[in-house]
Symmetry: C2
Subunit: 271 residues, 2 copies
């Protein structure tokens, strides 16, 4: 029961893929072969895409699904000549938006895909640089940080910081709690000073042991006993200090990043 | 002419925001105040969202726009009672998909938002770790790399590598061309060995000078003359070695990452 799904855009097709993927996870019974076709920005390239759609439909014995976010309607309409079921994401919502806003669309491909919204983009690049130079306790000067993630080694701090920086332009530092830190009743002073920016990341001890096992097989560091000790001590310390916490055991960096922004009030507020 | 736009989801609302943002860039005349409301996963939270929508509509003097990707239709329908124009992204496409696939949706909120597709997610985390330990020429052992970005200092290699790793699970290393490298007629041997994985990143010399100026004001490193020399020499060297190149001057990391994957054939192929 295989069916091919194509995400097609004149830009990166990341929006089409993310959106289409969310929809498809609602259907269990079918095996979807998902393919992204970016930069389809001429009628010729769209005709090539039509060939791929038709061939996939033939091979699978069922019509391919197509999620299309091509802005230029001249190019987009070519996909309509294919054998696939085409979901035209822009075509569906632009007409009602035009009516509500009382304006016509301006057909600017580049901007639709956010090739550069200058200041926001610069902020993201600067934040990424910040995350790199404030990763893993490298720097204890945290005045500029928007958020400081704290947790035991391999609890997911680094990728979460990088995601927040790269996606949201948030300056995210992180500090790994060492055994020495865990033996003390308080967090180190350079962290306490910034208490309102602190956020704890915890993880199930069994999962942590698996992750550490990959790095240093059969070490004390990776042992379940050591992981249990560290996780318990870190949670107790963060609770005592009133630092909010999330678990990375079954949450993605996207979810962690979003929740941290929300809980620390780093989201733009409406009022 | 301000109008508030809310991106609302029971997950991170990143899909809703990305998609809605793409649509809105098509309309120039209006100033949009864009707000993301993630984790709206109960009827109570949806009712709170309705209050925000109504208040924004009142303050702006025009009905707010709402892009909604709530999976649970019980929660989603609450938004329909607001004063906003609600675009129900899942509600629009799920019914035709159900018909095409001959299946009902399974209403699994978590998976719709990709909280964890295990192997893919692990690959992304591993690739992120790889990018960090193979950033900026730290490691010259590139056997495991899927791609190695090469370019002068501050041409955008690091954030592009991190994006490819975090988003696509691609193991991306990078190497900054030094003045010493630029004086030679060939790339260093440890790079030439992996020539098919190499990808050049270049940048407009004026833009490079601006970027370097922030880091080391009024230095030789940041001078336009030096930037011109390095960019010209790097482009000549990469051309001579037959390494494909892209410019980061006006392309985002999303666009660069996608194009590099496509050009190096690292995208999943259809046939």
């Amino acid at each position: 029961m295989r069916r091919t799904v194509l995400f097609i855009s004149d830009g990166t097709a990341i929006t089409a893929e993310t959106f289409g993927h969310s929809l498809l996870t609602q259907f269990k019974g079918t095996e979807f072969r998902q393919v992204r076709l970016p930069f389809v920005d001429t009628r010729e390239k769209a005709e090539d895409a039509v060939q791929l759609i038709n061939r996939a439909s033939e091979v699978d014995g069922r019509r391919a699904l197509v999620f299309n976010t091509i802005v230029d309607s001249d190019v987009s309409e070519v996909l309509g000549t294919s054998d696939g079921h085409v979901f035209d994401l822009f075509g569906t919502f632009l007409p009602p938006l035009e009516e509500i806003l009382g304006q016509s669309r301006s057909d600017s491909v580049g901007e639709a895909h956010g090739i550069r919204d200058s200041q926001g983009y610069e902020d993201r690049m600067e934040a990424t640089n910040y995350a790199l130079t404030h990763d893993d306790g490298i720097s204890k000067r945290l005045d500029e940080a928007d958020v400081v993630l704290v947790g035991v080694s391999r609890s997911g701090k680094t990728p979460t910081c990088l995601y927040m920086a790269l996606h949201f332009g948030i300056k995210a530092a992180n500090y790994p709690l060492t055994e020495e830190d865990l033996e003390k009743p308080r967090l180190p002073d350079f962290l306490r000073k910034h208490r309102r920016k602190l956020f704890g990341l915890t993880i199930d001890a069994g999962r942590l042991s698996e992750i550490r096992q990959v790095r240093r097989p059969d070490s004390r560091y990776a042992s379940l006993k050591q992981c249990r000790y560290e996780v318990d001590a870190a949670e107790a310390l963060l609770r005592a200090e009133g630092v909010p916490m999330l678990s990375s055991t079954s949450a993605s960096v996207e979810e962690l990043g979003s929740r941290i922004l929300l809980e620390l009030g780093l989201q733009r507020d409406l009022f």
